[in-house]
């Protein structure tokens, strides 16, 4: 898989993450919602940075899907969705690390993987899911 393909996949995934955090925040208490809002902002920045990067490389910049198949009936579902979003993004950031020799892209991938692993751990801890951490985040 080329780094270009992974970058496009990452943009698609970041669109989904932004959508998911927008939906799941409504099911959380005030304190937890603050974390969700911070994550929402972080994913929006990543999304925008990916759009710029893809444009600079003259690659397609897919927009968000018209709808996403997510049901968030309660707090547990909201937290589970947040864990899923971060875990799946971690896989793609790790894919980017594996797909490039460009140090800047490597760094971006490593940072993305670290951020998603930290957020996934925070959500698991909030949800009372154990283990809170993973030995090899991003590895399928």
């Amino acid at each position: 898989v080329s780094a270009d393909d992974v970058l496009v996949d990452l943009l698609v995934a970041e669109h989904a993450a932004v959508y998911a955090y927008g939906v799941l925040g409504a099911r959380l208490d005030d304190r937890t919602r603050t974390s969700a809002l911070a994550a929402y902002d972080a994913h929006r920045s990543r999304r925008d940075a990916l759009v710029s990067r893809l444009r600079a490389r003259q690659l397609p910049t897919p927009g968000p899907a018209p709808s996403y198949d997510v049901a968030v009936p309660d707090r547990a579902a909201a937290l589970a969705l947040a864990v899923r979003v971060e875990t799946e993004l971690g896989v793609r950031w790790r894919d980017l690390v594996a797909a490039t020799d460009d140090p800047a892209l490597r760094q971006l991938g490593v940072q993305g993987l670290q951020d998603s692993a930290v957020r996934a751990a925070q959500w698991r801890q909030t949800a009372g899911i154990t283990p809170v951490t993973q030995a090899l985040p991003g590895q399928v």
Partner: protein, 156 residues
């Protein structure tokens, strides 16, 4: 350009790293004048450094657990992940060794956790840096180690 070492084993063991180092030293002494020096295989060196780092982290956890057994429930899963890191670097199955026996040493739990957090943070930074210069084969593993160690801070 792919180095010749990249066709070798994915994750050299500590032993093979040491042997390779020794062989490198010998060939350096016996090479003909004017021959290009053998480059240090980056992945081999990066793996050896990562193994040393994980070994030191495991020792730090063992020291804390031996002194403060009350932290076992919190720290044992993290310690197990470092054992998994070590195994992944060495391309070997995870060896789950028993928790250390209690020693007479006493440590303040809060200070012990702060120290472990500092070690995890340093390891995450080092592994993240190594992931930038490693081969495509090793880099994802180092990136996962960095991510795992950053996430450990959530528990410390």
């Amino acid at each position: 350009v792919q180095g010749i070492w990249q066709a070798g084993p994915v994750q050299p063991t500590r032993r093979s790293v040491l042997v390779a180092g020794a062989l490198g030293a010998v060939s350096a002494c016996t090479s003909k004048p004017g021959a290009a020096p053998q480059p240090v295989p980056p992945d081999t060196a990066l793996t050896a450094t990562a193994v040393a780092r994980e070994t030191a982290l495991l020792a730090a956890y063992d020291e804390v657990l031996a002194a403060v057994p009350a932290l076992a429930a919190r720290l044992a899963p993290v310690r197990a992940e470092h054992q998994a890191h070590l195994a992944a670097l060495q391309g070997a199955p995870t060896i789950a060794s028993p928790l250390p026996v209690r020693t007479g040493t006493s440590l303040q739990p809060a200070a012990a956790l702060t120290r472990l957090a500092a070690l995890e943070r340093a390891a995450a930074t080092a592994h993240a840096g190594a992931a930038v210069s490693a081969s495509r084969r090793l880099a994802p593993l180092l990136a996962s180690l960095a991510a795992s160690e950053s996430a450990h801070l959530v528990l410390l």
